[in-house]
Symmetry: C2
Subunit: 384 residues, 2 copies
């Protein structure tokens, strides 16, 4: 599925794991590549090394391991990552800085460097353009299913392809990128455009979801344009396709969010600026009381009001605030609207939709959150 000419994936299993946890991707020479990384101030070793490599050259290989984040591992962790890049570079006859390293998994455990290096030849040997599925599986950690999307890009008489994979289900409140996502197209996209296209696509997708409000130390998202189709569609067509792929992957991450049984859309409109809308949307999405209320079917919308009030700006006027659950207004003119039956059915929807209108301006922001279930605690109190 999702074959992109010029990108191969191969996988291998670093012991003692029982399933593939190493994925290596070769990117054809001449491709353009962009990446965005976590804004976490304690980034993992591969993020630190990867940013340096990207500044030097366009990557020819991605080297991704799951299960070990190589974070909080100090200078030793940096050296481990560099050693793995160097080993892959020697096997493939490229410079070490043409390898983009990525890790996801447990924090604070030394990377099994020797074991990882030993599996690199295995991954290289089984690399094919048909292995996006296998790669999507190899990068999983607590994910319960792989995240993959592929779609055609129509341009004139040509049909190009864009394919993306992602992983992530906990420690999800990405800031600039999700846990890990890799997206490629066979279109020609000038290097000067790739970074802004990716940033524009990431903002309303990966950067607008929250499972638990925790931003990972390893979040990274990579966009590759191999140009192997020989076709260069206009920017708008690529942007549209990239936005769709990012949105679809973000939604797949949400619906696989740890313990999440329902995904809630929180649309905030009528703000003075985007930042205040986003702050309020996240406060609602991350309120444990709101999240717990959406695990039940009792419409405790008062908790939404409390969450808004907690972060609302100075001189916020609650009498201009309106809260809708689905199509039903529950709060307006400073008071509740009594409509319990209509509320209950909308609250209990599989994908409830909250609309919060601030009555202060014309800015808006939309965020997707999940509910809080006992399953979240079960998952996160067991050894990973």
């Amino acid at each position: 599925m999702g074959k992109i000419s010029g990108v191969t994936w191969g996988v291998a299993t670093i012991p003692p794991a029982q399933r593939p946890n190493l994925a290596v991707s070769e990117i054809v020479s001449g491709s353009t590549v962009a990446a965005v990384f976590t804004q976490n101030r304690c980034p993992a070793a591969p993020v630190i090394v990867g940013k340096k490599h990207l500044a030097l050259t366009t990557p020819r290989y991605l080297m991704v391991n799951s299960g070990n984040a190589n974070c909080a591992t100090g200078e030793h962790g940096i050296q481990d990552t560099i050693a793995c890049c160097t080993a892959l570079a020697q096997l493939t006859d490229i410079p070490a800085h043409a390898v983009l390293p990525l890790s996801t998994g447990k924090i604070g455990i030394p990377l099994p460097r020797t074991e990882l290096i030993a599996e690199l030849p295995v991954a290289l040997n089984n690399a094919t353009t048909n292995s996006w599925d296998k790669a999507a599986q190899a990068i999983m950690t607590t994910d319960t299913h792989k995240k993959i999307v592929s779609m055609p890009i129509q341009h004139d008489d040509h049909v190009l392809t864009i394919t993306g994979i992602a992983k992530g289900s906990g420690m999800i409140r990405p800031d600039m990128a999700t846990m890990l996502a890799f997206i490629a197209t066979d279109a020609i996209v000038p290097q000067s455009l790739t970074q802004s296209l990716l940033q524009d696509a990431v903002a309303p997708s990966f950067n607008a979801i929250t499972v638990d409000g925790d931003t990972s130390t390893n979040d990274s998202c990579v966009f590759i344009a191999t140009g192997q189709s020989g076709i260069q569609p206009p920017r708008t067509i690529i942007a549209e396709a990239l936005n769709q792929v990012c949105n679809e992957l973000a939604q797949q991450i949400m619906s696989d969010g740890e313990g999440i049984t329902r995904v809630i859309t929180i649309a905030v409109t009528g703000g003075k600026n985007h930042a205040e809308c986003r702050t309020i949307a996240y406060a609602v999405a991350e309120s444990p009381l709101v999240k717990a209320a959406f695990y039940s079917t009792t419409p405790e919308w008062g908790r939404i009001l409390a969450a808004i009030g907690k972060v609302a700006p100075h001189r916020f006027d609650p009498t201009r605030l309106q809260i809708d659950i689905g199509t039903t207004t529950v709060f307006t003119n400073g008071a509740r609207v009594d409509n319990p039956v209509a509320i209950e059915s909308q609250w209990a929807a599989r994908t409830p939709h909250l609309h919060i209108h601030l009555g202060r301006g014309t800015a808006n922001a939309t965020v997707w959150g999940g509910n809080l279930s006992p399953e979240y605690i079960r998952i996160n109190t067991q050894p990973e």
Copy 2:
């Protein structure tokens, strides 16, 4: 317990409740009174009315109901609160603005005004100076036990008394006060001192705890000095006593926090300023992953690092960061310290202590948080 000359409490039951949910306190004329209220931007009707009353005069009565927050009830809610104040004023022959109204409970339900007014004579009739215990029970909502503390104030040869009660177990991240707390002393405290004494005592106690990060719409804390002892101790002695009472009540609220089985102390030191220390302490205290990890006994301290990194300031240097669990350092010089056995015993302590040293300056902040258990979800997915 905790008798204060000049303060009585009486209680009553507003139907259909089965236990007392109304508490009325008479404060002797000549007392000095201070109060702090929630910073939530969607405050409840009694907070709006109470602030106005306080600006006009020193309260002679507190009128507290539990089970109904009278919040999100609009102009009608304001009128309900005023009507109740007026009814109590007529019964006691004082001006209506000498009544300080307080409510706690469910948001968005009209106050049962007629029923409440009907019970006011009952509460007045059973009012005594010996009823702090009864009042502590009447103000409870999801609390599993009453919160009360009383201690002597020693000054020269005199022994005065300070007594406080509080309620609160969910929607607890007070900002300026906890859900509800009432503290009284028979000492003479000049009115000019009461407000600053109360604010100083609330900052490191009620304003440094978090159950779930949600700030209530109704938080209020009232401090009363009746002066009935005829003794005026120096400011430092009153401050010390008030701090102790606020701290003790805050800890009682934490240990009764919804679903909390362990209370975690998060001490952040070495910051450039108090604000950044507090932000980091709260990010750790409120991280669902950290909270879940403290429900188990597996020392997932990497989650603490991720929470710090999420909110750390620009140019934060993780190599200067040190994280201690109890007396064991787990992270320093940018890398983990391998000491799993010592960590596990300290992580599993009944009251774990985290010390996060930022290595940037001399400021500090301490916050108390709780763990996240399936019980929290159970409590918050049932009709209140």
